[in-house]
């Protein structure tokens, strides 16, 4: 079943085309990871899907309606998006920032309601930042700050959540923590999640659906077992690799092969002469 889809999407900045006639379907209630080399159009795709960027051709469809025709505020109640580098205003507290997630649910004259309070409280709990609610966002660590931004998107209470590289600049412990959090969300609320990820192995392990983008088109899409192959990695990233089964999850795991240190060379051993 599909609620969100892109049909024949072309887009770019200025004269440079980045997406070329791209078509894809996002499985509802699943976690989708978009992977690809730098500048292949991953972020542009996400920006088009969330209507931050207007495509030059084609369209993005949500529940059968083109998103360009949905009023901005109404769209923001159904589809949330965490951009790559949002700005935390100086001195703002965690609770105040998360409250911004309620923006699309409020009119210019409407008051803050108990439902708004409940949504914010739930978002703080789900991201486990209740203790931080009164702290300044500036004072938090990178991982904590990312959880605050995700909490803001959660307070928006959308069925679909898009995230542009939510784990970039985080250390491995925080990357795993954020991905676990997204799985929790997906399982407890059935939220459809689409995220751009850099780490192929984490993408293969955490996503139900993997989309590999190359030169503005979908190169392969499907279950990670079928998408993450030696051929796909070579064609999409231009790097040779070995694929092994991940001993813990059984999902495919990729080991890149460079020009050096790719064989069990005895001279690399400590006891070599």
């Amino acid at each position: 079943m599909t609620r969100l889809a892109a049909e024949g999407l072309s887009a770019g900045y200025g004269q440079t085309p980045i997406l070329r006639d791209l078509t894809l379907k996002v499985p509802t209630g699943a976690i989708t990871a978009i992977v690809g080399a730098n500048a292949c159009g991953k972020s542009t795709l996400l920006r088009c899907m969330s209507r931050l960027l207007r495509p030059s051709a084609g369209r993005v469809v949500l529940d059968g309606r083109p998103v360009q025709g949905i009023p901005t505020r109404a769209l923001a109640r159904e589809l949330g998006m965490l951009p790559q580098s949002p700005i935390a205003p100086d001195g703002i507290t965690v609770a105040d920032l998360v409250s911004h997630g309620r923006h699309p649910h409020q009119g210019p004259l409407s008051r803050w309601t108990a439902a708004d309070d409940a949504a914010v409280a739930t978002a703080l709990e789900a991201t486990r930042i209740v203790d931080l609610a009164d702290r300044d966002v500036d004072q938090l660590s990178g991982g904590q700050r990312q959880r605050v931004w995700i909490a803001m998107a959660l307070a928006q209470e959308t069925d679909v959540l898009l995230l542009d590289e939510p784990t970039t600049f985080l250390d491995i412990a925080h990357q795993v923590e954020i991905l676990d959090l997204l799985v929790d969300l997906n399982q407890s609320r059935g939220t459809t999640i689409v995220m751009v990820l850099h780490d192929l192995n984490l993408a293969a392990r955490y996503a139900d659906h993997l989309i590999a983008v190359r030169a503005g088109r979908v190169h392969a899409a499907g279950h990670p077992d079928t998408v993450l192959t030696e051929d796909t990695v070579r064609q999409v990233f231009g790097v040779a690799c070995r694929i092994l089964p991940d001993p813990t999850s059984g999902r495919p795991m990729m080991l890149p092969l460079g020009r050096h240190r790719t064989t069990a060379d005895p001279s690399h051993r400590k006891d070599a002469p």
């Binding site: 790559q84 700005i87 923006h103």
Partner: protein, 318 residues
């Protein structure tokens, strides 16, 4: 805040060359004839206080909107030349063309919008960068200021009385007739801005984040900038570019309202208070009589220097 403004008004109404007893002031306001006090209170001090408040609110609101929208305290309309544009147009209209009244206000608004357009146009390169916009604005502001000085230097001696108004801003000789266009502008444009304050707060998270929260970015920015420029321009056409009120109100209001809440209402009140008290200080507390702009200028200049030093040290705009 509101209480402070009321106290400021009371102070202004009571104080003149001679003090009027508060009871007499109340009786005059209630419509009674009070010999010796009626003219001073109703025709001199009341219009002056009203104009101070309205102009201060307009400057405060307009300034806070610009600072919020461009995410930079330096991006205030009195720094980046929008007040100077409105001022220059008003000077030209009055001195050269001999206009008066609403026509001057309209021309000032048009000029303010034109200067805003020019600055935004010159600063535009794949999006709007705050620092470039501010530098271009300061340059344009300097050009317009020198134009005002030139026109004034060629003006006949009798109109030089008004000269100071166009250089630093002043509420001298305020009449109730001047108050109406400003009151109207404040109600219409100020109302537009206040209704949008949640959107403005969302815009502080960055364009992408705000759009994701359902703010139609392009339309919101256009509407709020136009409304803010309109407010600043009308207020400037009436009271002159009262120095640094727009620039100071936002940051003070932000401190009062707290980082999480919209500072717009607080900014309007701070602006009103700055003009009201600045004028009071200039009129009654200094050895000679100074227009309000001189007083607010003396307050604002050190803060401007502080901000510039700060942004130089931290390497990012304040």
């Amino acid at each position: 805040m509101l209480a402070l403004v009321v106290a400021g008004v009371a102070l202004t109404l009571v104080t003149g060359p001679s003090l009027t007893p508060p009871l007499d002031v109340l009786r005059v306001l209630a419509g009674q004839e009070v010999p010796g006090a009626g003219f001073a209170v109703l025709d001199l001090r009341l219009p002056r206080a009203t104009l101070s408040i309205l102009a201060g609110m307009s400057f405060g609101l307009g300034g806070a909107v610009f600072q919020t929208l461009l995410r930079n305290a330096l991006a205030s309309p009195d720094i980046i030349g929008i007040s100077a544009g409105a001022s220059a147009a008003a000077v030209l209209a009055i001195v050269v063309l001999g206009w008066s009244g609403a026509a001057v206000s309209l021309l000032a608004v048009a000029a303010g919008l034109l200067v805003a357009l020019l600055i935004f146009g010159l600063a535009w390169r794949d999006g709007l960068a705050g620092a470039r916009l501010i530098l271009i604005g300061i340059g344009i502001s300097a050009m317009l200021d020198s134009m005002i000085a030139y026109v004034l230097s060629r003006a006949p001696a009798w109109s030089l009385q008004d000269a100071l108004r166009w250089l630093t801003g002043s509420v001298n000789g305020a009449t109730l007739g001047q108050v109406w266009p400003l009151a109207l502008a404040l109600m219409l444009l100020g109302g537009v801005l206040l209704l949008r304050r949640a959107n403005l707060e969302a815009l502080r998270l960055g364009d992408d984040a705000a759009a994701a929260l359902g703010v139609p970015i392009a339309r919101e920015k256009l509407v709020t900038v136009m409304a803010a420029v309109g407010l600043i321009a009308v207020a400037t056409a009436v009271a002159g570019p009262v120095s640094f009120v727009a620039f100071l109100s936002g940051p003070i209001a932000r401190r009062i309202a707290g980082a999480g809440r919209s500072p717009l209402i607080a900014a309007a009140l701070v602006g009103a208070l700055l003009v009201l008290l600045g004028d009071y200080v200039g009129q009654h507390l200094l050895p000679a009589r100074y227009p309000v702009g001189v007083v607010t200028g003396a307050l604002g200049a050190p803060y401007l220097i502080y901000l510039i030093i700060l942004s130089h040290r931290t390497g990012r705009p304040a």
